[in-house]
């Protein structure tokens, strides 16, 4: 177990290192650099000045050297300043992480609460009317453009009915908890619907597969009740592939958060990344993107741990390969 953890951490650290260089290089390829921004701010800067500033800030160095410089200060905890927010990058990021965790956590939990029972119900009688209906709903959920769904929710609930706010985080102090919660309803709903379809289909497929195993027939033959067969014998086994896939989908959930946060003006990580990339805020974009990668890697790691925990036949040593 310890060996597994160590191996995994080492591997993740390596991926992070490679990733940080790739992202660093990509961001260097985006339009403009810090000196271009200064030139726009002060038209009197001459070409010689610009060149001098470039060498002063090390922007004329080869990319590997610049990256090395960034890495060494990042490792000592200095991630630089955010251009848009005029504050240290970490100060900007930390509250945004909190907001994203609230949004993702709520919709992730809600999606599972709906998708898992729906998938089990559909799998219990494959090709029945209920299965057909659930399958149709799941397919629709997968196929709807998430940002468009959010817009339609705004049209219905904010424009036509006027019962929910179209975006924002709520006001501090003046209103009660319920008023602030109202700002969560539409973002959470649209993010939940976006991920429900996939989860339902995974659960359904895994459950159907499990229910045709010999040990299920044996359990039924011994006279076990249907409830016991479904939840005592089948569910745990069916959960093995489902947990893996859902944890791997974590990166997908994050993409959903980016869209949802942008549309509903929710001040989280996704919107921060988008604004940072669009606003040439290189330091912030770099760190935020790496953080998103860390979250995805954590998802992958949890998937492996859950896999071993659910399936005693697999040992940690096998997963390592």
């Amino acid at each position: 177990m310890l060996h597994f953890l160590f191996h995994r951490l080492w591997q993740s650290a390596l991926v992070m290192l490679v990733m940080s260089f790739v992202v660093y290089a990509l961001i260097g390829l985006m339009p403009g650099d810090p000196i271009d921004l200064m030139i726009t701010a002060d038209p009197k800067i001459t070409a010689e000045d610009a060149a001098r500033l470039r060498s002063l800030y090390g922007l004329d160095q080869p990319i590997v050297e610049r990256y090395g410089h960034w890495l060494s200060s990042a490792l000592s905890g200095d991630f630089g300043f955010s251009r848009l927010h005029a504050r240290p990058v970490m100060e900007v990021l930390v509250p945004a992480i909190g907001n994203t965790v609230i949004l993702l956590g709520l919709s992730f939990g809600l999606a599972l609460l709906i998708a898992l029972p729906a998938g089990i119900a559909a799998a219990y009688r494959p090709y029945s009317k209920l299965d057909y209906a659930i399958n149709m709903a799941a397919f629709s959920g997968i196929s709807v453009p998430p940002f468009w769904l959010a817009l339609m929710l705004i049209i219905v609930f904010a424009v036509i009915l006027g019962v929910l706010p179209a975006g924002g985080l709520g006001k501090i102090g003046t209103e009660g908890i319920w008023d602030n919660l109202r700002y969560l309803v539409l973002p959470v709903a649209s993010l939940t619907i976006a991920s429900i379809g996939g989860h339902t289909r995974y659960m359904r497929a895994a459950m159907i597969e499990t229910l045709r195993q010999d040990y299920i027939r044996t359990a039924r033959a011994t006279g076990a009740s249907e409830v016991r067969v479904l939840f005592g014998h089948a569910l745990r086994n069916a959960m093995i592939p489902v947990v893996t896939i859902i944890a791997l989908d974590f990166g997908f959930l994050f993409s959903g958060a980016l869209i949802t946060e942008t549309i509903f003006a929710w001040p989280g990580m996704g919107r921060l990344i988008f604004d940072a990339i669009m606003g040439n805020d290189f330091n912030l974009a770099l760190v935020a993107l790496l953080l998103a990668t860390v979250l995805t890697l954590i998802g992958n790691f949890l998937a492996d741990v859950a896999y071993v925990w659910l399936d005693p036949r697999v040992s940690f040593r096998e997963v390592e390969r």
């Binding site: 991926v15 985006m30 196929s143 453009p145 468009w148 592939p241 990166g251 994050f254």
Partner: protein, 315 residues
């Protein structure tokens, strides 16, 4: 005993059999029909435009936000262009992007998967770690960065970087660059088991080159999973294009696509909700049709797999 029909005596080709199985999947057949209608409508866009007497490009500020009428069956947009015609032209672009990017991704994925699966060992480990790395990347933020890259800094000549269709090619390339992982894993898995089969061994014994074995003996056996995965990914690509275009990073106006028709949708929902509605419906219908089609193809092409995992853990 009744007489056997001609078909039973002669036997059927693999493709006829597949087609017959496909026809049993009602939703997939309907989807194929819907997609055919959409494709024809998109291709016939100039014809419809001529019929309606407007071109979807002329700005007419006296006729903004018109409701449906004979001349404009779906009304007009914020600068008086015909909504229906812009939808049809947008369909051309969205379908083109979906198909080409999905096929390009499948080509990259097949190449990487077959090399890893056939040669195994170090190369396999290297390519698969690389694949894992790409999968671990947060997809949408990465696409946004790629879509925002400065093409001049990549060393592309100005003539290319500034050409009108560059946003179209750019989106095909970046989606293909991040979208090949599913096919690569599928192909690698199958290639691993195929290379142990007798007919591959026999070909090796006869001195066939590695390229010949991969191309002639292994690749044809991989056709089914590749076709299914590619069909399913067309829908995903269309969704990605729409998201990027909605954020203003995808297809750039004046080229219309279903995604960029929605770029200003968020402001429009207060004035003209219908304009925010139509393109989304088109995307939804197209994507769900491709998903059903992929599902049906899977049932038809690989009945054993369907038996194992009815209607798809595969996507």
């Amino acid at each position: 005993m009744t007489a056997l029909s001609t078909r039973q005596i002669q036997g059927e080709s693999m493709w006829a059999l597949t087609w017959r199985r496909f026809l049993k999947h009602r939703l997939a057949v309907i989807s194929l029909g819907v997609l055919a209608v959409l494709a024809v409508a998109a291709l016939a866009a100039p014809l419809t435009a001529a019929l309606l007497g407007s071109d979807g490009e002329t700005v007419d500020l006296f006729n903004r936000f018109q409701g449906p009428s004979l001349g404009h069956p779906l009304g007009t947009d914020a600068i008086g262009r015909d909504t229906l015609i812009r939808l049809l032209y947008g369909g051309r672009i969205s379908l083109f992007v979906g198909l080409t990017a999905a096929v390009a991704a499948a080509v990259i994925g097949t190449l990487i998967g077959i090399l890893a699966g056939y040669f195994g060992g170090r190369l396999d480990a290297l390519l698969m770690r690389f694949t894992d790395g790409v999968i671990a990347l947060p997809l949408l933020p990465l696409l946004i960065v790629l879509a925002a890259l400065d093409l001049n800094k990549l060393g592309l000549p100005d003539a290319v970087a500034a050409s009108e269709n560059i946003s179209l090619y750019r989106i095909v390339v970046i989606v293909a660059l991040v979208g090949w992982t599913t096919v690569a894993r599928l192909v690698r898995g199958s290639a691993l088991s195929l290379r142990e089969r007798d007919f591959v061994r026999a070909a090796e014994a006869q001195g066939a080159s590695a390229w010949r074995i991969m191309g002639v003996h292994i690749l044809p056996n991989l056709a089914s999973p590749i076709i299914v995965a590619t069909t399913l990914s067309v829908g995903n690509v269309i969704l990605l294009e729409s998201v990027l275009s909605f954020l203003g990073l995808g297809i750039q106006p004046p080229i219309p696509s279903w995604g960029n028709l929605l770029t200003n949708a968020q402001e429009l929902i207060w004035d003209a909700p219908a304009l925010a509605f139509y393109p989304g419906v088109m995307i939804f219908v197209t994507v769900i049709a491709f998903n059903f089609l992929g599902d049906g193809l899977q049932d038809a092409l690989d009945p054993r797999a369907t038996d194992r995992r009815i209607a798809g853990m595969s996507n």
